[in-house]
Amino acid sequence: MDLKLMIWLVVGATFALYIGIAIWARAGSTGEFYVAGKGVNPVANGMATAADWMSAASFISMAGLIAFLGYSGSVYLMGWTGGYVLMALLLAPYLRKFGKFTVPQFVGDRFYSNTARIVAVICLLVISITYVIGQMRGVGIAFSRFLEVDLLWGLIAGMTVVFIYAVLGGMKGITYTQIAQYVVMIFAYTVPAIFISLQLTGHFLPQTGLGGTLSGQDGVYLLTALDNVLVDLGFTQYTTNESFSTLNMFLLTMALMIGTAGLPHVIIRFFTVPRVRDARKSAGWALVFIALLYTTAPAVGAMAMYNIINTLHPGGVGNTAEAMAYEDRPDWMRTWQDTGLLQFEQQGDGERVHYYNQSNPPAWADDVEGQGYRLESFDRDILVLANPEIAGLPNWVIALVAAGGIAAALSTAAGLLLAISSAISHDLLKSVFMPNISEKNELRAGRLAMVAAIVLAGYLGLNPPGFAAEVVALAFGLAASSLFPVLMLGIFYKRMNKQGAITGMLVGILSTLLYIFLYKGFFFFPGTALLADNADGWILGIAPQGFGTIGAILNVIAAVVVSKLTAPPPKEIQDLVESVRVPRADAATS
């Protein structure tokens, strides 16, 4: 069957499924709209959390990042999974016991202060809106690349589907669609990976294939071969890549872990299960479903890298006479060249493509310097999407990957939109500005807020701010330095009061913003950066992306010091903390 028709069929079928679920799971009350009536099975919630969490970045970009960073790419693998340990152990069970609808609600009630609530809402909005831009962009790119429709129409299609199930169904509709989306995306990710692992190493599981030997080359390990070809090309070894210093590996991994645990759209997923012990278990299931993709990703990255190098050097690295001829390049390179994400540049005479590290050329490259073609740019986002084509897999696999990428982006976008709309309708309207609003009107306001958020996200997806990549680092830095510490202290430090919490959040956010702005420009305006964004310019060698860790530490110190200097929280707040710490509802009082 024609590839394009196949993709239309597969993507169309998944969309019909999502809409069907939306009609079945309409929300009738604010409880259903915000937290799916607290009736979600913990395993089902784990699956929905996995889809909620794994965004276009996890699905499309991560394996590519790892392919080019090798060992250093581990910061993303560990950072984006280890955060679940923090969330499961330090936050989820207690916030579930608190038993309300949103994260700012906990901050506002625990610190008996609308100022604290509003600061938390602002953090939530900055984090979530930043995230949602990337998702909408992902939907648009998947549509325009695979279905060859205009980015605008791709975005409108994506927005319409999210609109139908998120606005109608609220958390309930989102939860059940996310489960379907998880199934679609995990198939789309693992099926090509299994095929490629079988081709390359004969292993069914990519997780063991990555540590296996290459088929047809007796006893040569894939990773050893990859290390060797990369060194021959003038790059560093794959398994010991040192793109980040040890200090920055540590800070970056920690910032991603703390940031993950502090992301409001993920935390609220744990409000949907019936009991505290379900929240604990559900976090484990979430990580099971996430780990299926995250342990496959390093194999996808390494194997794709190996395949690409072999495609460019069919006669072996250093055999310049047999390097790939430009005219003989495979079809997938031609298709991706059309998108601009892959670029070749003609250097001089000669028909062959010579690929090596330009800034550290190997000795053999002297002969071909200034000849033939050079691989000018290879966008890492291509890797997963082009993977089935690189490995020459059948058309239905390519269609599945397209549907998977769209599912990853839509499921995360829906979760974020819910976090945004509940912060506005519940935390700003109901808690601060209109305490007497009826439930029906609050539900209506929530839906309206979501419509507004979808339109804003779509607009930003179409006209993305030029600094999108930097802003993602900012989102994690903010989540790490503002929300996580204040939530944790609220549970584990009974003496924490409102002055401490507000000071802590402000110190965390402002120090992190300041450090990022110093290197990336104030509000990302080009030319306003005060210091050079490289290892020499970084204070104590700390990379801006890893500063969230420092921001979190500053937050905790400021919060504890200020809290010690001011009056302890009132008795009823201390009782609230006591009750949050105990699972059974009636056990805390009397």
Binding site: G73, G82, L89, G211, L223, F250, R277, R584, A587
Partner: protein, 88 residues
């Protein structure tokens, strides 16, 4: 809340914090000490085709994280029953 119950609650919370500290120590060893700080040393040993430090960073740490969450859930459910604070 009477004094005896208060004492019970404090004991429950202390036991919880002890379990947490234990789990987070394992989390730190599996997520930082082995895959980052000791990676060059571990890489001298191989696990199939994987240098051990590299395996820990790209596979092993994730498996440990998983086991930790399920262990904590199991251990806390036991503790909840022991202190009679479990849910119906």
């Amino acid at each position: 809340m009477n004094a005896k119950l208060q004492e019970q609650r404090t004991a429950y919370w202390k036991a919880n914090v002890r379990i947490l500290v234990g789990c987070l120590t394992v989390w730190f060893i599996a997520g930082y000490i082995l895959p980052i700080f000791l990676a060059p040393v571990l890489n001298m040993v191989s696990l199939g085709g994987y240098p051990l430090g590299f395996w820990m960073a790209q596979q092993g740490a994730i498996y440990v994280f998983l086991m930790l969450i399920f262990f904590y859930a199991w251990r806390m459910n036991k503790l909840d029953r022991q202190f009679d604070v479990h849910e119906e």
